[in-house]
Every structure is written in structure tokens, then in C-alpha cells.
Symmetry: none
Subunit: 207 residues, 4 copies
DNA sequence: GATGAATGAGCCTTCATTCAT
DNA sequence: GATGAATGAAGGCTCATTCAT
């Protein structure tokens, strides 16, 4: 393995330990010693691969965001050409095993809570959301246009995004009592309420 | 003023300074010195009125929750007997000037993020949400029953709650760029999508 | 009761609470709040009757020393004219119910331990001991002279003093397991070893 | 030097600085900052090698006790087989340059004074004393048995222990005015008074 | 006199950062 | 590269002192 790859693997290992630590101890209780311990590496390693604690947190947020976008992009591509199918695919990505992990959701809430104090966090969170809204608004627009619906696509997209984040918080608060599929249901029903014809085959009533 | 009242006023003053500080510096950056400064009192006062920092944070969360419940309860009572009007009143309370303040929303996100690490936080957050869900589920149930809708009232209520929290996060991330009324719109439209007849007079399309 | 007497009673009450607190929490754990609580008075009272914490501690030590000297003086006077009887009376005073209280012994050890750091403590402790040594040396001298013993009275007195203090420490460490009479025995046997004829009638072998 | 040895050296360095600081400032005035300063290391080092201040104090007491026991054991072994010689050797160890240092005696008084408040201190102090009493009682018993004395060996041993502790306090209070040999004299005379034949050659009258 | 609130200095502890091995 | 010791700044907490009622 190349030096580069080794280095990246170490960084990823530390980032995941950071997510784990944030999830278990909160951002307040996340210390470099804890992260090192969670990663199973010696204390000094953290300082070796990341300039500072801030840099580590920043890298962790970037990883979460990049990771999310990659999953969403793949889901959309796999869903085919239909806007409705693509929209559902986005929601399914939002509650996929990869994205909606307890640890990751916990980390998201931590980063959100610090956006006011740390502009870099805010920028990245807003950027991700903008990209999400751009994508889902466009899909809604196509559905609205094709189906002749009388709703504002941006508003529907905004509501969807809100509901996803809200359900993540719910999952976070309920600490595992709310499953991914259960959490996803209101989101799909929401879309179905606005686009009944298009979502009919994609969302089962009983689900 | 009685000793009791004075004491309560001081406590409230400190709690509000805590909310302010959390909003500006995040939970990580919230120190007792900052809180004291924000409250315009000397450092020792905090220790005098609250046993510890944890106790102060706990009291702050309790205040936020109690405050929210009082506002919601008043709104529902003022809304009259109609379930639909009551449901809309709840949403309006969620985005009222009293509840949806930047400072308070920021504090909520902070407490949510620490629920995993601080069980007491989790309990209070879940308790509030349970109470919210109980109320809104019941209202939805009444609407569904009276209107003959074919939806699960609990799911609609869960989605509403999620969307409200999601929009709060949105307001938090956008740091003032998303106004209270603008944030409220998707929530009302969401309800209107499920209960079109009942919400027709209460939610304007153009709003 | 006169103002003066009332004042003195309050001061004594606080001093005894101080002894109690030192005994239970150690000098390190002795705070003015604890003393006030032990005395059953409000917090501010302490500052009212004593200029400072140091002054309170100083007054407590003075009280202990004065108290001891009064008890010893009375015991000697009551013992009659015989030097041997007087010497035994001193030892009995050292382990009397008044002097050898657990609380008081604990306070003595606390003051001894701080003599290096607080010259005022050292002065008072040394002063008391000088007075004790002067008295016991003189008594020993009279016994030696009259009995024709071949020992240095000062050395015997020094040994006696040391053994008393040592037994106090023993009682302190054993926390009540070593009774006052049991602790006194080696001291009396010590004297009897040097002055067998004079102590014969005063110290029982079986005791 | 090995890591282990280095670590132990640092710990010892800090323990000795603690003894020094307790001696100079008393337990009340002993702060970690003072200890660090006395040890000539930075402030954080203390927290690095000892979990807490309590742990440091506990380790200091353990060191004092272990140190004492080692000195006493060596002295006894060097003294040969004679019980009387061994007993004298113990007393000589009690007032040896190694054991009866001003700093160490001061520390002992400090620990004694806190035994009521800190059970761990009490346990270690009592344990040491028990071990001392066991050894000296046994030696006294052997002397009594061989010499046909009519005294209780345990009482003699208890008196010896008390006198040693009492003389330590005396040395502490007199702050150097009472030398080690001078302090030892009453203890040896005490033994000689009970065991005149056996101690005759070991204790000079003029000493 | 008596009360207890207010102040702020000082302490223990934690922890990010730096550095020597 | 990797380790973990060393540093010192900063936070929470305690508490003696002061003061207003």
C-alpha cells in the first residue's frame, strides 16, 4: 500500500473514532484522548495526522457531508430517469443503513448545534443543504410540471428536507427506539400527499 | 419584593443568560464566566443559585420546555373547540415570536446534541416530545374521524413534529435568513395536504 | 444576662462548633459554613463575632489551652501537698473526661500539624507545653530530692509529656477503641517505674 | 534508564516535594502549584503522575510508612539476635537521620490530624502502628520472659510507641530546638527503667 | 444584632498543544 | 512514523470576606 493510501486510512480511522466519540460523549465530552482510545491508537497519533482538534472536527464534518452526498448521488443514479423514483431514492438514501446510523446522526446534531459558534461548520452544513435542496427542488419541479400539480416545488422540497432532519432528531432522541423504516414513512407519505399519482407505485399505504 | 420572588428572578436572569450564551458560543464555549458576564452579575452568583454547571444547564432545559408547553397550551385554549383550528394554533405557537427565537432554537439544538451523553437531557426532551405527540395525535384523530380521512393520525402527527424540528434546524443553520412565517409555511401546507377541507380556511395558499 | 456575657456565650458556642468541625472534617475541611451549621446559627454570625477565620481558629486554640490549664490547675490544687499525688493528678487531668475528649484531641492534632505554617499556633502550643514541663519538672524534682532517686527530673517530665501526647495520638488514631483509662495506664506505670516508692499507693499494678 | 525507573523517579521527586511542602506550609497550605514549584517541575506534571491531589497525598503517606518500615526492619536485622539490642535498635531507627527528619515528622503530624476525615489515612497509620506494636511487644515479651520481669510487655510497648510519637511532636513543636539524640533519651531511659539489666550496656546514663 | 446574598480570588482538574526519544 | 511525557492555559467549584437589608 502506498504512503498516501496508508495515510488516508489512518485519517479515516481517526475520523470514525471521532464520530463514535461524539455520539457517545457529545461534543463537550469529546477529547483527543478519547478519540485516540476509540481508534485504538496512541495519543500522539491524533496530533500527527491533524494539525489541531478543530482540524479533526472539520475533517469529520467534511467526511460526513461527502459521505452523504456520495450515497445520495449513487442512489439517484441507480433510480433511473423518473423524477418521482429519484425523489424516493433520495429519501431512501436519507434513511439508509449507511447514512442513518445512530453514530452519524448524533454527530450531525452535534455539528448543527455548533454552527453558530463555528462558521466553518455552518458553511459546510448550509452547503450540503443547498445541494440537497437544489436536487430535490429540481426533481419536484419536474414532477409538478409533468403532473400539473398546483404546488410550489421549492416549498415541498423544503418541507421534505425539514422532515428528514426532524426524523433524524427523533431517532437521535429516541435512541434506537425509532427504526429507519419507521422514520422514513412520514417522509414518503408526505411526498405521496403532494404527488399522489407519481408516488402511488412507489409508496405502499401499508408501509 | 419577597425573597422568593427575588430569588426566582435571579434564577431566570441566569437561565436567560445561559440561553444567550449557548446561542452565541455553543455548548462547548459556554462557560460559567461567560454566563455571568452575559447576565451582568459576578462570577460567584452562578454557583450560588445553581449547585453546579450541570444544574444550571438542566434548569435551562426545564425552563425552555416549560416555557414551550405553556405557550402551546395557551394557544390551543385560545383557538376554540375546532380540532383543525387547534392544530393550526399549535403550529403557530411553534413558530411564534416567543418560541421560535433564534436564541431558544439554538439552545434546543445544543440540548438535543447532548442527549446521548446526558440522560437527564434526553428524558426531558423525550418527555416534551411525547406530550407534543399526544396532543397533536389526538387532534389529528378527531379531524380524521370527523372528516373521514384515510390516514393514520399518529403518522401525520409524527411528520408534523419532525417538520417543525427540521424547520427549526433550518432556521438555526440559516442564521436568520429563514423567517418564522416562511419556516411555518411548509408545515401548514403539510397539514393542508392531508386535511384539505378542514385547513382550507385556516391556511392561505399564497401565504 | 449582660451584653458581655451574651457575647461570650456566642463566642464559646462558635468555638465549640469549630472544635467539633475540625474533629469531624479535619482542618482542611473546616469551612465557616460548616462551623455555622454545627453551631446552629446563621452563616453571617461567624463573621460577626470573629474578625476572620484565622481569628476564630486562634480563639479556638486559646480556648483549648486555657481550658486545659484550668483543669490541670484545679486537679493539682485538689491533690493536696504531696508532689507524687500532684503528679498523678496531672496525669489524671490529662486523661479526664473534660480534657481527653475525642473532639478536643482531634483539634489538638490539627493545631499541632499547622504549627510550622502558623507561628501563632506554634507559640501557643509551645507556651502550654513549657508551662506543663515547668510544673511537672518541679514536681519530679521534689520527688527526686525527697526520695533520693538518681534520675534527671527534667528528663522524666519530658518523657511523661511525650507519652501523654503520644497516647492522645493513639486515641485519635484508634478512634475510640482506646479508652481514657487504658491510655492513662502506661503513663502511670512509667512514673511508677522511676518513683516506685512514692507512686506505690497511687498506682495499682492491676489497673 | 528504563521508562519504569524514570517514572518511579519522577513520582518520588513529587512525593518528596509534597513532604517538603506539607512541612513548610501545612496540609492546608499545600497546593499542587506549591508542590510542583518545590519539585521544580511544571504544574501539569502532578496531574500526570497522580490522578488527583488525594492520590498524591495517599502516595506520600504510603511512602512515609514504607520508608519507615524499611529502616526499622534493617535496623533490627543489623542488631543481632538479642531482643534488648533489637528493641534499642528500633528506638534508634525512630530517631535516625533518615526517619526523624523535620520534614517527615511534620508530614506525619499532618496525616495524623486528617485521619478522622480521611479513612484511607487512618487505615495506613493504624496499620503501621499495629506492625510497630507487634514487633516491639514481641521483643518486650522475650526480654520479660528471659529476665523474669513482672511487667506486661504489651503495655511497655504501647508506652514506648506513645513516647516516640510524643517526642516527634515535641521535635515538631520545638522546630529544631530538640535534637534527635536528645529526643531519644527519655525513650531509652524508659526502657531501661523497666529492663535495667538488659539495657544497662546499651544505654549510657549520661547520654 | 442578625441574616444571607454577592463578590472574586484561589484551587483542583482537564486538556489541547508541543516536543523529545 | 510513533509514542507518551511535559507544559500551561482555562474551566468549574469552593469559600473567606464584605455588604445591604
Amino acid at each position: 500500500m502506498s504512503q498516501e493510501a496508508k495515510r488516508d486510512r489512518r485519517r479515516l480511522q481517526l475520523i470514525e473514532a471521532t464520530i463514535e466519540t461524539i455520539a457517545e460523549r457529545g461534543l463537550v465530552g469529546t477529547t483527543l484522548a478519547q478519540v485516540a482510545k476509540a481508534a485504538g491508537v496512541s495519543y500522539g497519533v491524533v496530533g500527527f495526522y491533524f494539525r489541531s482538534k478543530d482540524a479533526l472536527l472539520r475533517a469529520t464534518l467534511d467526511h460526513l457531508a461527502d459521505d452523504y452526498e456520495a450515497v445520495a448521488r449513487r442512489a439517484v443514479e441507480k433510480a433511473g430517469a423518473s423524477p418521482a423514483a429519484r425523489l424516493v431514492a433520495v429519501v431512501e438514501a436519507d434513511f439508509s443503513a449507511e447514512v442513518a446510523q445512530r453514530r452519524k446522526i448524533a454527530a450531525w446534531t452535534a455539528f448543527w448545534s455548533e454552527t453558530r459558534a463555528t462558521p466553518a461548520f455552518r458553511r459546510r452544513c448550509v452547503e450540503l443543504q443547498d445541494s440537497y435542496l437544489t436536487l430535490t427542488s429540481e426533481l419536484c419541479r419536474q414532477i409538478v410540471e409533468a403532473g400539473g400539480y398546483a404546488v410550489d416545488p421549492r416549498t415541498v422540497a423544503a418541507g421534505l428536507n425539514a422532515m428528514v432532519y426532524g426524523q433524524w432528531i427523533e431517532m437521535h432522541l429516541r435512541a434506537g427506539k425509532l427504526g429507519r423504516e419507521q422514520a422514513r414513512r412520514p417522509c414518503l407519505l408526505y411526498l405521496k400527499a403532494f404527488f399522489p399519482d407519481d408516488l402511488a407505485g412507489l409508496v405502499r399505504d401499508a408501509a
